[in-house]
Symmetry: C2
Subunit: 612 residues, 2 copies
Amino acid sequence: MFTKLRRLLLGPALPSERIAHERLTKVQALAVLSSDALSSVAYATEEILLVLVLAGSGALGLSLPIALGIALLLLIVAISYYQTVHAYPSGGGAYLVTRENLGTLPSLIAGAALLTDYVLTVAVSISAGVAAITSAFPGLFPLRVWLALVAVVFVTLMNLRGVRESGRVFAVPTYFFIAIIFLLIGTALARWLMGVPVPVAIEATVASGAAQGLTVFLVLRAFASGCTALTGVEAISDGVPVFKQPEAKNAGKTLLWMAGILISMFLGITFLAHQFGITPHEGKTVVSQLAQAVFGLSPVYYAIQAATALILLLAANTSFSDFPRLAMWMARDRFLPRQLTNLGDRLVYANGILLLGGLASVLVILFGASTHALIPLYAVGVFISFTLNQAGMVRRWLKLRSPGWRRSAMINGVGAIATGVVLLVVATTKFTHGAWIVLILLVFLVWVFRTIHRHYQEVGQQLSLRQRWPTPVHRHTVIVPVGGLHRGVLKAVQYAQNLNGDLHVVTVETDPQATQNLVAYWKETLPEIPLQVLPSPYRSVVGPLMQLVDHFVQQEGDYVTLVLPEFVPARWWHHLLHNETAWLLKLALLYGRRDWRGRFHIITDVPFYLSQ
Amino acid sequence: MFTKLRRLLLGPALPSERIAHERLTKVQALAVLSSDALSSVAYATEEILLVLVLAGSGALGLSLPIALGIALLLLIVAISYYQTVHAYPSGGGAYLVTRENLGTLPSLIAGAALLTDYVLTVAVSISAGVAAITSAFPGLFPLRVWLALVAVVFVTLMNLRGVRESGRVFAVPTYFFIAIIFLLIGTALARWLMGVPVPVAIEATVASGAAQGLTVFLVLRAFASGCTALTGVEAISDGVPVFKQPEAKNAGKTLLWMAGILISMFLGITFLAHQFGITPHEGKTVVSQLAQAVFGLSPVYYAIQAATALILLLAANTSFSDFPRLAMWMARDRFLPRQLTNLGDRLVYANGILLLGGLASVLVILFGASTHALIPLYAVGVFISFTLNQAGMVRRWLKLRSPGWRRSAMINGVGAIATGVVLLVVATTKFTHGAWIVLILLVFLVWVFRTIHRHYQEVGQQLSLRQRWPTPVHRHTVIVPVGGLHRGVLKAVQYAQNLNGDLHVVTVETDPQATQNLVAYWKETLPEIPLQVLPSPYRSVVGPLMQLVDHFVQQEGDYVTLVLPEFVPARWWHHLLHNETAWLLKLALLYGRRDWRGRFHIITDVPFYLSQ
């Protein structure tokens, strides 16, 4: 039944040979991998204006030069990652680049930052998407946490089904969002060029007086806030292997396309917002104000809102491509549990997908699906990974000195410095709002990675054949503990007789009368096999058997096999009707005494299947 | 650590040889086994008056003849049980008597009735006791469910420690209750005889007008209500084996003593309540009113209230002697899970005690520790068992015709008819108040008993050696599935080589590259042992192995042993860091496919202990 439900939700199992076909075209990959980056258009301009407005409406004009600066930064980051994509065609990303060029500890920091960021992307995007829906339909507001959880489960299932299906599902809304935003920008630009009277800003009265002076710090803060536009840019370089061959070339082109689209939309909206005299205020986003100014409350306006909500929901999907892949890499390097390297029967890293879905659900519940509570935790991780990635690339050019290395190193160097400065600004201005949580979390995660790594190393040493081969079997004793004489017991005894060892059939005397009866019946039925009676004054079955095993295991190479006759009932509730002595014995023998560990005792279940 | 806590709470394990010493003297047994019966004095008189008062204050005078009738009934029941105790010195009780004389179905009804009643006794007594405490300290009222649960846990632990300890703990409050009630009756009688002016009833104004006519039915109802005085009378005849030798004689004497004390207290209180002109009303019990009339609000009054609360709490303890014993008998007859026959390491039927504690806790929680909600469910079970027990005894005398059988049969016959009539009255008058729940529950329990019995019978048949001996081992194949080559794997292979069977070391190919490396390394390290590669296009490890087992098991007598190299990590969280393939395999092989059941495949774990 479980298997059927699984097949229904996830589709049939896929053979390994189909792995090469499960790749994305450039058009599909753009939809799958760039929704995170593109969706940031929905709030990046607003973040800039929200800071500038503190210095009065007059300062809003600075938004355009700041946006140009961010666009330049975005271009630098994109070109830098374009270099990464070609340098690391099997999938770049901050973790791999840092590991190769800067060493283990920086790579663990980058890995922790990225993993944290992917989880946050899911939680933030889905929360924001749900908030967009509940703004349109206020009746759904009390259900927002449930809606967000349903969305997380939906995206998780889509990704468990496999990557091509998600490409299909997500292409339509992504391109719809791009198209409708360009329609908005184009229409607004046309009106502005034709000199059609610009509508008066809907509520221009807000914050016309200056609350703060226009300092360099404030401009920097505005710049840093606008840098949320860069979140998700690294997705394509992390996801090179999902592209159709030639992967690196396709990924590089897609990356540049994405950067171009993102920069156009971002600059267009920022420029027009200023031309249309829009100021940020609560309850109505900047994009929404612009859309209303251009289209009024027409169907096109609602379509823009719906597309925004959808792209935010889909942005979460980017993380479902990246998180499991990064987790797989880190698990391969033994910094995470190795189960994360298992390719599931739908050819996806199912454990990573489930882990991400679970963690994001926890965040959604903890923060009550509130975007505002989650946002301050968000950008720190991104800029840590940007900085480390680009610093790593610089180191790489200095090492390789391949043709054109000076130019490349300079591009990456500028990027590293720029993102490093932004990282400092973001961490400083957001520290008290929640960035401290992320910084503590990163330290904790790095500690976890190293603890796991140490464990695997220790296990590897203990298991190494180089160190010492295990002692071969020297003396083999076979013990069959019995509590009665019936077909199940007889089957176990017959099996034990056939094993190559000294056979001891024993019964533990917990009730003298019952034991006496058993011994008599045994002598009559199986006279050729002696039955040994173990006294047990405290009526414990496990204790005397453990003493017996102790007796036969004196030195290395002494093996004891306990052959346990065990019922397998036909129905689960039948377990309640039988003494689960076998189970207790196994528990005691495997985990019971510390000093037993390393002893050579083997437990063999001889199952007897009950048919009713 | 778990063991230490256990020893701290329960005391050291006791050897079986001490079982004969763990018996009760008559004085101890009276305390342990009669608190249920004696505590009913606290409410029996009140129950009569509460019915009579419906016909006006004038009808209250009828309480004395009714109480005399109940005392007579109690005497008849006690004498009947006195006969039972001697006829069944190994412990009588309705279940055994009915089983022997009336057959299986009536005995199952009696067993169900008694088990239900024991659980209700615990829940009712503890709830009532807690209510007495919270009446004195109203601040504790919001905590009543917690208090009741603490009391249930306390009594459960006391009984898990063992029977002699409970005898000691409970003797003091029981005898204190008896002494202080006789002090109350004696003082009141002395005042009445000396003609000291009887104080005016505190609130004589209540219900002076008649609400109903004084019908025969009403008198019968009053009689039936007063019969709650009889609950718990059967405890001693159920508990004969806990007495010191000679058990039957000691138990018989104790039973008569208990009946005498109970009748004296019950008649005394009923007589004096009438003489002192006490009418029942809410908020102050009849005993409490009488005590206040005699002693005023002095320390003696509070002592009476405290003693009443204590005896009610201790009444629960009676069930902790009887429930596990009856459950053990029924489990021995295979109507209940056989785990209930296990004598724990403190020489008590620990599973029965825990089951009773658990069920009573559930009742306490479900009914919010409210006595009023529980009481209507209560008496039906008692009178079912009385009637069946005495009908069984009548049948016994008619069968045996031992000396004096006519007189004995007549005594039991009168008892059976009287309790049968009371049963009908109780069931009728309380039907809509909750008796229907008990009647449905009894039917359900009888069905459960019979289902369990059928299961054990079927298992017995399947296991019977008379039917057919299992086929001996004919062909033995040993399969070692490996995923790598290390010390743990080598140990398993060495062990498997030593078993008497055809060895097949196999690896499942989920990742062609990894498999290729393993095969090369294997050939280099263990050239003498061939490694077989099983292809797995869907990357499942379990599927191909199950097919391989299928291949080697063609007919009966074909045994396959799967030798699984298995890690035993040093810390629990290390389990998260290893693929639990062995665990999945075992699950699949034991429970996986229906048509596999009855096949001969054996699973052997070769543990490899990790030290860090």
